[in-house]
Amino acid sequence: MIMDISKRGRYLWYGRGPILFSGLVLVAAILPLFMDPFTTISATNVFIYVVITLSWTLFSGPTRYISIATAAFFGMGIYTSALVGEMLPFPLVVCLGGLVSFILALLVGLSTLRLKGMYFNIFTFGLSELIRHSVLWWEVTITGTVGRWVVSVDPVPVYYSMLIILVITIAVSFFIGRSRYGLALRSVGQSEEAADHMGVNVTAVKVGVFAISAFFAGVTGSTMATRWSYIDPSIAFNPLFSFMPILMATFGGIGSITGQIIGATVLTLLADLLLTEFPYYYMLIYGIILVIVILFLPGGIMGIWESLITKRQKETNENT
């Protein structure tokens, strides 16, 4: 009768959830055999946005610390790829990109997670911009160029790399969410002072999960850089990469992993479609759709789903 997180977790672990999940992963793993390169790239694009959405929500969802720094960690991954891409094998480059973002997030987290609310939001946004302009300054003054060439990798290995990252991100989000740290993150979001007084080392939990979240943005950046072949600071640290995960998570429903996956997938495909069909009005239409969604679906897609379920439950209760 008691719905507690440990029981829900166990149900998903032994129940239909993992079977469905493994099935989907298996399908995704054999798909490239049947897809043309364009579809493969399109699917990879979906994976990217799902991963950065999940990684953003991992920290910002439960704690309600709205980070606008995803672009910083994503961009660090991209630049790692550009710097060491020629020297190291692809998987190692990807891991290194994640590590650089992880370390950056640890340093940033330790110095800024005492900031709360609006101050934290503005700081994280400022951080992205600061890094972008610092890299730009470095390139212009020291290196003498603005852009860089990145060693390119074929679409199919990139697809598999992103698929592996996606599976790990989903697993990590799931297990952190069900663990005592998931509970602690939620308690921080509701009363940080009380959480501290109940024995939770709030600084360690916050900084740790913030860094894990940055790691996933970093590996995604490193992987993607190989598809773009040319990068410069304004491409790598494009603020859109900070805003997109927030929009996609809100659209899907912040409380649920499934919701975020659906939200990111739908919005990415929509953006692709608009970009090819209406190249000049793409951002305008996209913006209008987002405004409508935020206004009329405050709980996101999962919000509609849940209200449908409660409605049906009510009806069955009335019938019996």
Partner: protein, 242 residues
């Protein structure tokens, strides 16, 4: 044995003295009441002990160890738990999850099964059984105050600081709260409580400390305090039975 010893603790906020050189101690197993007019520094004193704020000067010793500059979570792990005057529950989490958090972050660690069992037992003890899966925000104020206490108890404290747990309760609930405090004491927990409900203070306390303008102005048995002229003048405003 002295479980808590506070020596000359002082806290300035800008130029204002909130707590001025307060000395006192609490013995193991005691129930100590802390009273005084609004703004006397009672909650500030609790905040200083629990680590929510650091003192300008002075020392706090818990079981002989200096805990003055430790963080709240470190102080909690050493065995001091507290409730908040304005309830600070995890309002979107369920009643059970609120208590579970304290259990799961305790040292030494417990398995989830044991923690669950213990939390259900604690909720039963405090009178919140049957409300486990309710979001904490949906509890009435009396229930929220109880949940604050249950959550603090789940950290396995040796010393429990109760900050006005009876404020806003009706007379029946106050009587129940007094019973609860007595039963918590029977579990071997030392208690310090801030309260404006004088009947409760006189009923449960072994000793009462009176604060006024950040200074300790009196200390003694409940009856001595009730008869103390300074205390009557600054706080009680008349004689009360004890």
């Amino acid at each position: 044995m002295k479980i808590l010893e506070v020596l000359g603790i002082t806290k300035y906020f800008e130029g204002l003295v909130a707590v001025a050189g307060v000395d006192f101690h609490i013995n193991q197993g005691e129930v100590v009441g802390l009273i005084g007019p609004n703004g006397a520094g009672k909650t500030t004193l609790f905040n200083l002990i629990s680590g929510a704020i650091t003192p300008s000067s002075g020392v706090t010793l818990f079981k002989g160890e200096d805990i003055t500059r430790l963080k709240p979570n470190e102080i909690c792990k050493r065995g001091i738990a507290r409730t908040f005057q304005l309830v600070k529950l995890f309002s979107d989490m369920t009643v059970l999850e609120n208590v579970l958090l304290s259990c799961l972050f305790r040292k030494p660690s417990v398995t989830r099964e044991d923690a669950m069992g213990e939390c259900l037992e604690l909720l039963n003890f405090i009178g919140l059984n049957g409300m486990e899966s309710l979001p904490a925000r949906e509890l009435p104020i009396g229930g929220q105050k109880r949940l604050e206490v249950a959550r603090a108890l789940a950290t396995h404290p040796e010393l429990l600081l109760l900050d006005e747990v009876m404020a806003g309760l009706n007379p029946t609930e106050v009587a129940e709260a007094i019973e609860s405090i007595k039963r918590i004491r029977e579990r071997g927990v030392t208690i310090m409580l801030v309260e404006h409900v004088m009947q409760a203070i006189m009923d449960v306390s072994d000793r009462v400390i009176v604060l006024h303008n950040g200074e300790k102005i009196a200390e003694g048995m409940p009856c001595e305090i009730a008869a103390n002229e300074t205390v009557i003048n600054v706080y009680l405003g008349g004689t009360i039975s004890c």
